[in-house]
């Protein structure tokens, strides 16, 4: 869930996402100086819209991927990149309707939010100071605008 009215564009989600998911040290002070530079999986679009992967039900990225690198976790339904098999063809980058998937600046793999599938709770929602990012189950999302 992203609540546009609450997002202040503080970029904290990006900062901690890169530190927690992408850095080696997992400590901000050290992560800043790491090379290759850690990459965030969530992006603050424009002034006030933090966006991460929607994990679409009919995901275009999975369909576009030629070798099954883009997969869905059967248990949780989360879409993720199996990095070792990525051939860097960037089909997913082109197919994503939200522009969430990006080529990694330092390695030839696609980077994408997997909603912290190994952590239990997404770090971006945990650190969001205004709770613009929240994790909640919505069954009525097709019928209700939010």
């Amino acid at each position: 869930m992203v609540d546009k009215t609450k997002c202040t564009g503080c970029h904290q989600c990006e900062l901690w996402c890169a530190t927690e998911i992408s850095s080696v040290s997992k400590e901000l002070y050290q992560a800043i100086h790491e090379n290759p530079q850690p990459v965030p999986r969530v992006y603050v679009e424009g002034k006030d819209f933090a966006l991460q992967c929607r994990h679409c039900e009919g995901a275009p990225c999975i369909e576009a991927c030629p070798n099954g690198t883009m997969r869905r976790d059967p248990e949780t339904g989360l879409v993720f990149v199996n990095e070792p098999t990525c051939i860097a063809c960037w089909m997913c980058v082109m197919a994503c309707p939200f522009g969430i998937i990006n080529p990694s600046p330092s390695m030839r793999v696609a980077v994408k939010c997997d909603r912290c599938r190994n952590m239990g709770y997404p770090i971006c929602a945990e650190v969001c100071p205004t709770q613009a990012l929240r994790l909640e189950e919505r069954k009525d999302y097709r019928t209700k605008a939010f």
Binding site: L15, A18, A31
Partner: protein, 571 residues
């Protein structure tokens, strides 16, 4: 976010923690938890709020916003974050001294030594005007020469503070210049702190080491208790003490120096737990300044119906004597009104000997012991509490370890008051806490002497200058280290920079907001090494055991490169 850590090691404070939780009083620890995670950009110095086009950040992980709107990159942002702190800290010192000097000038008190007071007042005027060229003669020549060569010799408020603050507005100053400006303003602050001590001595007379009581147990059940919170003007404190003694009101303090010759008063608690004394129900009135006073005091005071009087309000009180009288009378009235409030005073108290000066004990003996190798070194401890660490734990554990290793610990300001609560300023504890050699040296200095020597608010500088004079060599050649185990206020940053500029390796916890830029950190350490022959060590590991920290200091005193960031030396 949850923050799981022991809150404090002070039993008196711990006693009140469940009570605060029960009655839903928010304390500093609750509020810290509410703030988590703190802004990572500000924490690493990569943010700027200096103009209205911002606020800007330099994003460490995204290429699109590496620079602020005006073009400040991460190196400039990080070095300006340090400059901003140094400027604010310097103003803290200047505020204290200008208020004190103004009150002395307006003849609110008859000074002990009139001639000396007049001279110090002239020096203070000089400090504001041209950086005190006259008074600078009292500093050792090589030190002055070094500062002059690097262009950081104080040149008065206009050149040091105003010009430096304009660097934040813009300009093309590079990292090195910004950092040097931080040192320049810090030197002005340090000098004013030193002059403050000088003025205090000439107005009130010399201070002998005095035994005072600390912690909440000193509060009295059947007497009005008045609490002085924050470093108020010494003249106001003296007048309050004067009237209070006559009217039978007990004066206590928090975050303030307890020694105003010929008076002294007990200290209740430290910076981190300044709301706790009010929770005893036994404090009837608080006189609070602005510095070091948490605005949260107001809420707790309301809860316990404590009168709160501001000593630094907008409406200036010209007649201090009258104000002091009003305050004490109000305390008595408040005591009568508050009879229905139960008083819950934990029986925890400790004795502390404070107020040593370079003349007493004899500096020559200390220098001799250093030369002979009886003392492994000297550590100057400063700094108040920081909620990021268990209250007082770092300061206490590190000091105990240093004492065991025959290192003379000298403390000042809030650090002394923290150590006092655990008996490290009690002469009885000398044998128990100190290594064999250290206790021999200490007992040769004075008959009754505590393990840690407190040099008051302004004394450690005096001690260091005196050491340079006695030993006839720079501080770089002595094994001295300054240490800020739980630093918090901007004035402590100023103090740290001043120590470094004197040539003393300094350890500072927590990390200063410059860690976002490698270039700034490299320039800072190069600058300290080349220009002052010292180091500002800012270990970046967030979790480090107090004993490991003490070990780093011991290694530095021995001349080994012990400090590190994740095991690598900080160049």
């Amino acid at each position: 976010m949850e923050f799981i850590q022991k809150k404090t090691i002070d039993q008196a404070v711990e006693y009140f923690l469940p009570k605060a939780a029960e009655s839903e009083i928010s304390l500093v620890w609750d509020r810290y938890e509410g703030q988590l995670p703190e802004c990572g950009f500000c924490e690493t110095g990569l943010s700027c709020r200096d103009c209205l086009q911002g606020p800007c950040i330099s994003h460490p992980f995204r290429d699109s916003n590496k620079m602020g709107v005006c073009g400040k990159d991460k190196d400039v942002l990080a070095s300006q974050s340090l400059l901003r702190l140094a400027l604010k800290g310097t103003m803290t010192c200047l505020d204290r001294i200008s208020e004190f000097a103004e009150e002395v000038e307006s003849k609110q008190i008859r000074p002990r030594n009139k001639a000396k007071t007049d001279q110090v007042l002239k020096e203070i005027q000089g400090l504001f005007k041209d950086g005190g060229s006259l008074m600078m003669k009292e500093f050792p020549k090589p030190l002055i020469q070094g500062w002059k060569e690097n262009g950081i010799l104080p040149e008065g408020v206009a050149r040091d503070l105003f010009k430096s603050s304009q660097t934040l507005e813009g300009g093309i100053a590079g990292v090195e210049e910004i950092l040097l400006r931080a040192f320049k303003s810090a030197l002005l602050g340090g000098t004013s702190q030193w002059l403050y001590g000088k003025l205090k001595r000439s107005v009130f007379g010399d201070q002998d080491p005095t035994k005072i009581e600390v912690n909440l147990g000193v509060l009295k059940n059947k007497t009005p208790n008045l609490l002085i919170c924050g470093p108020l003007s010494p003249i106001l404190k003296k007048k309050i003490l004067d009237v209070a003694e006559k009217m039978g009101v007990q004066v206590t303090g928090a975050c303030t120096s307890p020694l105003i010759p010929p008076f002294h008063f007990p200290i209740l608690t430290g910076y981190g737990s300044q709301e706790i004394p009010l929770m005893t129900g036994a404090v009837d009135l608080v006189v609070a300044g602005n510095q070091s006073v948490n605005p949260s005091l107001f809420r707790v005071a309301k809860e316990f119906e404590v009168s709160l009087i501001s000593a630094d309000g907008l409406s200036r009180r010209k007649d201090i004597g009258k104000f002091a009288r009003e305050v004490v009378e109000q305390a008595i009235k408040s005591f009568d009104f508050r009879r229905h409030i139960p008083r819950d005073i934990p029986e925890i108290r400790e004795v502390a000997m404070m107020g040593f000066s370079p003349e007493d004990p004899d500096i020559k003996k200390i220098v001799e012991a250093l030369n002979k190798g009886q003392l492994k070194g000297i550590v100057v401890l400063s700094g108040s509490n920081n909620v990021k660490y268990t209250q007082d734990q770092e300061t206490l554990l590190m000091t105990q370890e240093l004492l065991r290793n025959d290192i003379l610990c000298v403390s000042q300001g809030e650090a002394s008051r923290a150590l006092a609560k655990y008996g490290l300023l009690n002469p009885i504890g000398t044998k128990k806490n100190c290594g064999e050699n250290l206790s021999k040296v200490l007992s040769s200095l004075k008959k009754e002497i505590p393990p840690v020597l407190d040099f008051g608010e302004e004394g450690a500088l005096n001690l260091l200058l005196e050491m340079m004079r006695v030993g006839k060599k720079g501080l770089q050649s002595y094994p001295i280290v300054a240490c800020f185990p739980e630093a918090n206020r901007s004035s402590e940053v100023t103090q740290a920079l001043w120590m470094v500029a004197m040539g003393i390796p300094t350890f500072f916890w927590p990390a200063l907001p410059i860690t976002g830029s490698q270039k700034t950190m490299d320039t800072l350490s190069k600058l300290c090494q080349e220009k002052f022959g010292s180091k500002l060590n800012i270990p970046m590991e967030k979790k480090m055991e107090a004993l490991t920290k003490a070990d780093l200091i011991i290694k530095t005193l021995k001349g080994e490169e012990g400090f590190s960031i994740s095991g690598k030396p900080w160049k």
